[in-house]
Amino acid sequence: SQTIHQWPATLVQPVGSPLSLECTVEGTSNPNLYWYRQAAGRGLQLLFYSVGIGQISSEVPQNLSASRPQDRQFILSSKKLLLSDSGFYLCAWSTPDSQGGEKLFFGSGTQLSVL
């Protein structure tokens, strides 16, 4: 069966420090991968998605970047964190649904606090 691992679960970082959040998927090949951010009362905002190794699409211009060095690894990074980067970050993967569209599966999230 497929599983998705996301770490760390919580992270407290000072403003201006770098960031690296990692997500790995097991039990599937060539998944679509996603990074979402969830800010209080603002729902889920799609940050990046990837359809293959080295292929990254950015949905929102910001202080963050993403990389996919391996088929089942997706990394969210920042060189210098801002206060506004605080939030709950969710990694997800998807596979085509036989009835149409995509089936989306989420990791357990990382609560990032920038102080």
């Binding site: 996301q6 729902g43 997800a92 149409g100 995509e102 989420f106 357990s108 999230g109």
Partner: protein, 115 residues
């Protein structure tokens, strides 16, 4: 472009009472619709989905939703809620208008079940 509106940010209800969480969407093409649930400090998990066929969709934990094309709605219902249903609920819509089926999420509705 697709969009989702969850009309209520918070819905308080007493245990064993019925509940309806409202969701309206906009899209210019055929859609796939989803409800996800998020328990505190966790990722999202799929409650139910509408892809095609019967407009009344049954999901896990006794939830159901009805797709109403004329009203562009996909409201979530449960006839009798439990304390354990307290969580954040997200409606999502997916269509092929952007060349992919990446879902767009609403801002979420916080369901609070009181004893």
């Amino acid at each position: 472009a697709q969009s989702v509106t969850q009309l209520d940010s918070q819905v308080p209800v007493f245990e064993e009472a019925p509940v309806e969480l409202r969701c309206n969407y906009s899209s210019s093409v055929s859609v796939y619709l989803f409800w996800y649930v998020q328990y505190p400090n966790q990722g999202l998990q799929l409650l139910l989905k509408y892809l095609s066929g019967s407009t009344l969709v049954k999901g896990i934990n006794g939830f159901e939703a009805e797709f109403n094309k004329s009203q562009t709605s996909f409201h979530l219902r449960k006839p009798s809620v439990h304390i354990s249903d307290t969580a954040e609920y997200f409606c999502a819509v997916s269509d092929s208008s952007g060349g992919s089926y990446i879902p767009t999420f609403g801002r979420g509705t916080s369901l609070i079940v009181h004893p």
